[in-house]
């Protein structure tokens, strides 16, 4: 079984704040991490390998620094790592990112591709299903459990708003995974040693045979027009007085605003 896991290096958004005066992001000292959902993707890949045999390769598309996240994946136990990196990828939106990753994955070959549900910097949850479309393979999103892996099929549970769907898919398939799926393991000592020595395969635009017009800013159908701080609530009001007084005011307001 050939398993490819897509991981993205992201700024730890829990640490990102907006400077209210300049309306810009304060990023000083914000650490880079592996997208938390992708940690679950790595763990899922490792667990499938433990049951079904085969190999797990971690892939990331990003700048040279993203190599650090690949080494972290190796420390958790993945067998190989590929860094898809090229200046031509600059400014990729989800379409161009998925196109680029699909080309890299086609080169590596995979029976099962695992992505996180979404990346916490963009929160789009689009790259996974788009990769599947580019590769012409089925996908199952929001996988919360993997029930069965066979040579040519997989049975998984897809989280829905009102419960879950049990789905069987042929292979190759792409899965996007949610946090409930598993608990990512910590790196072992042996893993950490391996991570230091591991060879990271570097793939450029020409290595993956990508069409230039589909890459980076030029290949991206969407554009960021501008970025701004979220509006603060305009109608904020602290209700002073005793508990009874403030509750009285609150209930009157709720009646006036037709909440009751």
């Amino acid at each position: 079984m050939k398993i490819v896991v897509c991981i993205k290096q992201v700024p730890d958004t829990a640490e990102v704040r907006i400077n209210p005066e300049t309306n810009t992001l304060i990023r000083d000292g914000v650490p880079s991490i592996i997208n938390p959902y992708d940690m679950h993707a790595i763990e899922a890949g490792l667990q499938i390998r433990e049951k079904a045999g085969g190999s797990v390769t971690a892939v990331t598309m990003g700048p040279p620094q993203a190599e650090a996240s690949l080494r972290e994946a190796v420390s958790m136990g993945v067998d190989g790592a590929a860094l898809v990196s090229d200046r031509a990828f600059a400014g990729s939106d989800t379409w161009a990112t998925a196109y680029t990753l699909s080309k890299a994955i086609a080169l590596l070959g995979a029976d099962i591709i695992i992505c996180g549900k979404q990346a916490i910097d963009g929160d789009t949850a689009q790259v996974g299903p788009e990769i599947a479309e580019f590769l012409g393979i089925p996908h199952v999103a929001y996988v919360r459990r993997i029930d069965d892996v066979r040579d040519n099929a997989i049975v998984v549970q897809r989280l829905m708003d009102d419960g879950y769907d049990v789905i069987e898919s042929s292979l190759p398939v792409l899965l996007t995974v949610v946090r409930e799926l598993n608990v990512p393991r910590l790196p072992s000592l042996k893993g950490k040693m391996a991570a230091k020595k591991a060879e990271i395969r570097k793939l450029t635009a020409s290595d993956i045979g990508a069409e230039e017009a589909s890459l980076g800013l030029n290949g991206s159908p969407t554009q960021v027009k501008n970025i701004f701080a979220p509006e603060a609530k305009k109608d904020r009001q602290m209700l002073a007085g005793t508990a009874d007084e403030s509750i009285d005011i609150l209930v009157k307001e709720l009646v006036a605003r037709k909440c009751l």
């Binding site: 958004t13 196109y99 929001y142 042929s170 501008n226």
Partner: protein, 395 residues
Amino acid sequence: MFIKVNRDKCSGCETCITSCPFDAIVMKEGKAEITEFCQACRSCLSVCPEGAIMEVEEESDRKEKGQGRGVWVFAEQRDGVIAGVSFELLGAGRRLADMLGTELSAVLFGCSAADAAELIRWGADRVYHCDDPMLCSFNDEPWSGLLSGLIAEHKPEIVLAGATPIGRSFLPRVAARLKTGLTADCTSLDIDPETKNLVQVRPAFGGNIMAAILCPNARPQMATVRPRVMKRGEYSASRQGEIVRMDAGSIQSRTRLIETIKEVSEVAINLQEANIIVAGGRGVGSEKGFQILYELAAALDGCVAASRAAVDEGWIPYRHQVGQTGKTVSPKLYIACGISGAVQHLVGMQSSDIIVAINRNPEAPIFNVASYGIVGDLFEIVPKLTKKIREAKGL
């Protein structure tokens, strides 16, 4: 188009570096340099005191604009029931169609002709309806194949869908196939009066910032919107429209739905559809503490939600969790009890119409987003509030 630094003008003051949301500016030999992370968002253009940063137009910027006419809404259904978000999208779509002077169409897979007619009463001029039984339950490949085909045939300029597990799963395939942009989780949609392009606003970086996104050349412009973000339009029982019945053709899929397991607890847990939510955090103190929140929710006809802290403590199941790693809700009324208001919680609920915060710490950040804040002990406030509300409602 790309962004460039004029090295002669750059004084090396580093002001631009902190302005960049994408960390795409570095110092090289004492001058600023734009790296490959640049998304051309223009944030840095205005901050440079020397005016050394500029936009450069390229040949490829003058791409031909795709053709398209009409606004479409994908009307999602599950178990033959049209999702509430579909009606909200018809409200938003109607407004966009009127601004563009064009028609609004809905696309419905599954359901009955009567359901299709209902979409017209909620604002659609036309409904493309395919009631093939094979399409009744959600399946990515057939749904994305059929919708892509319809779009390619009729060429709408805008396509909207719900940012639900279903919409977020299969819409990306449609966008990938049609080589067009898809903007997830939009919180506002508007038409640029000059270019007539769709301006799609969405939160990024866990809600820390908002980004306005355009899809200037490719068509259709596609967006998903979370439930409860847009308002329903006007319902008119006498509205007339056209229902176009379609054939699904031969349906093939490499995935198969084996079964659907419903997990519903006694309280309605479909938080995303709830009008009123009472939420508890670590301040609630215990599983038993949640009892008074259930009582308040019952008096209000609402649902109970929780912060991650309360879920992690095991006081309430995960599916009640609101926030970055839980559900996004936007009810008419959200009452936060004993929740501090961490940003990861706020991103899941700050688009609620009215937010009430009850917290004994006056400095708690939840008060920054609260329409009404009460500083005090929730164990005193909540039962009293329940009583008052029951009185006000004559219960």
